[in-house]
Structure formats: C-alpha cells, structure tokens
Symmetry: C2
Subunit: 285 residues, 2 copies
C-alpha cells in the first residue's frame, strides 16, 4: 500500500475531523504514517481559517503537525495574490481566519470596499447583511471576484448548511460579474502548494480524503494513489454512481483502516464480496 | 512618452483592428514603435483564434509580427493546461482556433464529452445546438469549466453580439457547476505570458488598449503606463464615469495618435480644454 509512496496528502474535514470532533483514532493514523517515514501535508479547502487557527485545532486533538504542513485554500489564496498581484488591495467576505492569512502573507487589505481590486469570498459563518452589502459594494465598484472554494453545502449539526457558493451567488446575481478564479481543491494551485512543500513527485504521493470531487479527482488528475474514506461527504450508496474520473484506488470506512491497509491485511488483490477496499480497486479497472 | 519604456503591450480588436478592417495607420504605428527599438507583444482576449490564424490576420493588413509576439487567451489557456494539468483531457465549446492552439501545445482533446476533465469555453460564432449539448454533457459528466475570457458582448456589424459569457451562462444554468478559472485579461496569466516573452519588468512597460476593464486595469495593476484608445469599447462619454482603478495615463482618439504622443507634440503637461490626451493625465491625479 505505501510501497513507493513518499508523501501523503490528507484532507481535514470529513477525513480526520468532523465538526468539533476528531474521527476516532485519526491521531494514531497520523502517528503511524509518520512512523513509516512518510512526509505529510494536510490539504483542506477551508478558507475561513488561518494556518495558525488550524494548527491549534489539530493540536487540541493531539494531532502533531507543523504550520508548514497545513495547506488551506486561505493559505493558497494569500500566496497566489502575493505572488501574482503584488500591488492589489483586497476586500473579503468571510470569517476572520481568511484576513489573518492574507495579512500574514502581506496582502494589502482595502480600507473601504470601493477601493478593492479583488473581493475574496470564503465561508462566513458570522455573516450579517452589512457584510454582504460591503462585499456587493466592492464588486459594484469594480472589484474582481476570487473564491477560496465553491462548495455548495457542508454538513453541520443541523444537517446541511449553506457554503461559499451561496455567498458567491448573492454577489454574482446582483452585480452581473462572475468569479474568475477558484483556488480550492481539485485545482492545480492546491496540489502545487502541497507538492512544493512535500518536495515529492506526484507519482510518489497518496491522497486520503472524503470527497470524490475534490480529493480523489485531484489525486487522479496528477497520477497519485487515492484513498476514499466514508466518514464524510461520500456515502456507501454513492459508490455505484461515481464518475470514472472520481474512482479511488481504495475505499475504506474510516481513516483508521489506513493502518490495516498499510500493514497489508487487506491488499489490492484480496477481493471478497463485501470488502469495500477491494471493491474500490475493481472500480478502477 | 516612451522614456524608460522598453516593452509595449498592444491590444488587437478595437485598438489596431475593427472587425475585418485595420484601424487606419495602425501598421504605421507598429512600425514607428519598432523603429524606437521597443519590444512589442500583441495581447488579446481572443480565444477563438490560434496564434497562426492571428498572425495571418495581421499579415493580411501588412502588420509585421511574429507568432511569438502574439499572446491570445487561447494561447495562454493552452499553456496553462499543458503546464498545470499535463494529464488532462479537454472538450471545447468554441471555434476551431481554440482547438488548434490546444493541439499545438500538446493538450489532449477528449474523444467524447463524457471523458473530459475540462470544458474550455470561448467565443463560438459557428455554434449549433449540438455543440452546446456536447458541452453540457461534458460538464454534466464532471468536466470542470474554464473560460478563455468572460466578455458579455462584442461589437459586430449588427451592433452588439453575444459573447463568451452567454455560452458560460447556458452551461452554468443547466449544470449548477461554475467556471473556476478565467484566463483572459486583466488576469495575471495574460500579463505574465506577455512579460515572459518581453523579458522587461512591468515598470518599463506601456499598455495600449480600448478596454478600461481589461487593458487599463491590467496595466495599472502592475504599475505599467497605460494608454486608452477610443476606437473600440470605450466612448468619450464613458470617461466621466470611469472607476479610479480604470483611469489611464493617456486617452487618445486612435492608436495613430501614438506617433504624436511619442514625438512629444502633446505631452503630459500640455493641458488644454479640449485635448483628451491631457484630460486623461488629469484623471490620474
């Protein structure tokens, strides 16, 4: 399973965390992967947290990580703006974590919406009408739109909650302008940030995630090995309807099964009727 | 005017061409700029032509150019896909020029829409319902969407004609998916392609174009000198309502006035009531 693998890209929400809880034994799996000498990058579409906040969130669950290992869509957005638009001024529609990350990367925040060159949109769980109106004003006065990601909904304690696509929709509908760049997975911007950190070629990487659209597609697009966990976005019942480009190499119930996979207790050739790991292998045929 | 300038980025449609005609004396202006020893890049949001087609179009008007000097949004899209998604398969909604450019850059074209990783959308003046339906099928089966540009309309012999945003709207409305990347001006992708060719820092560049949104914003975002011509998108009457981030350094009636500007017959300080050149200078105050 880990043969030839030097770098492991691990998703956060739905894969090792679920809301304010850790997926059972995720800390042990991270420690196990490290014990094999593999490099790890935590690659998440979270745009409303800064790396520092995310580091603290992982620490609180006893998951050992460094800030550099954490690649969030907020991180990648900030890096992108800093590198490609060094003179830009940015307004945000999103939680404080995004602004913290932009400031950390020396991206200039506009003083008033009217002066912004870009509106960066991410999840904004504390949003008010005023925030939305400020964002509207930025775009109405010419700001171009960037989104950290474009997820429609995410699971919380009430079922599904409106996500970034909702904020984007509000501004697009009222300004007749459109988002011109989405940074989150499965984009090349996230992959390249992870590979730059890992310093490992894609063919020696493994992706573990709960989303076929972002994690599995991202991995497959670069020839990485892919593992789908069923603790998040994707349910067993979805597996039959997956598009070919979203078929993972392995499907496991939970990240905990990585230890089983790693120890070769359930390998690629060990096909039985009710073994999802093996069923996944055949999906790729 | 040209003091300290080593590279000149020149827009095509509305600036040196208008439909199937050349803006009068544009060929002379290009020759004049070359005679000053400046490097030239032709930077156009045209995504439905290949470089080769564009080269022939310029040649037909006696405008001397090389293919390498021509930076189209089709060129930049093809380069982007080749560099960042080397394994991808692409379906297109657009005229043949786009496909020619993708093939030229060894981007793999999908055999059927269902297999595409990306749908690339550009202007498609020969579009039929069947083309639109193929594009829909690509996205319905999971292709991500990229647009060469996102212009809403362009002027032709009948007034304004529907542009790329219309094709994008048709697919977005029916698939609930969204374009995640727009390559055309004023994006960093176009600027960086031009600067890579010119090998000149932005502060030593001048942009000449007819669109405040794409040409002037692009130039200003990188600290380039900017010249707006009134032979295309922007009319005299628009000048009073320009956003600050779209104010050019100079406004001239036609690219032909570049010679006048270059020879210093009408300089930055030469303010008179009805001189648009000078009026523009004061816009930047």
């Amino acid at each position: 399973m880990f043969d030839g693998i030097k770098g492991v890209l691990i998703d956060l929400d739905g894969t090792i965390l679920k809301g304010n809880q850790m997926i059972p034994y995720a800390d042990e799996v991270i420690a196990y992967i490290r014990s094999l000498g593999k490099k790890i990058a935590f690659v998440s579409n979270r745009g409303n947290l800064s790396r520092r906040m995310c580091y603290e969130r992982l620490e609180q669950f006893g998951i050992a990580a460094t800030e550099k290992e954490i690649i969030l869509s907020s991180t990648v957005t900030a890096q992108f703006l800093r590198e490609h638009y060094p003179l830009c001024q940015v307004w945000t529609l999103g939680d404080e974590g995004l602004r913290e990350e932009l400031r950390h990367h020396q991206v200039q925040l506009a003083k008033i919406p009217e002066e912004a060159d870009f509106l960066v949109i991410t999840l904004h769980e504390t949003m008010t009408y005023r925030d939305l109106d400020f964002a509207f004003r930025a775009v109405y006065h010419g700001a171009r739109m960037i989104a950290t990601n474009i997820d429609k909904m995410f699971p919380n304690e009430n079922g599904n909650a409106i996500d970034v696509a909702g904020m984007v929709g509000a501004i697009e509908a009222t300004t007749a302008r459109k988002v011109e760049l989405v940074l989150g997975k499965p984009s090349c911007f996230m992959v390249e940030a992870a590979l730059r950190y890992l310093q490992v070629p894609p063919s020696q990487c493994l992706v573990i995630g709960d989303s076929t659209e972002s994690d599995i597609r991202m991995g497959r697009m670069y020839g990485m090995k892919t593992v789908l966990v069923l603790t998040g976005n994707t349910k067993k019942s979805h597996l039959d309807t997956l598009r070919v480009k979203e078929h993972p190499d392995y499907v496991i119930d939970s990240i905990y099964d990585m230890i089983r996979l790693g120890e070769g207790e359930c390998g690629e050739r060990d096909v039985t009727g009710d073994c999802f790991t093996c069923r996944a292998v055949s999906l790729r045929k």
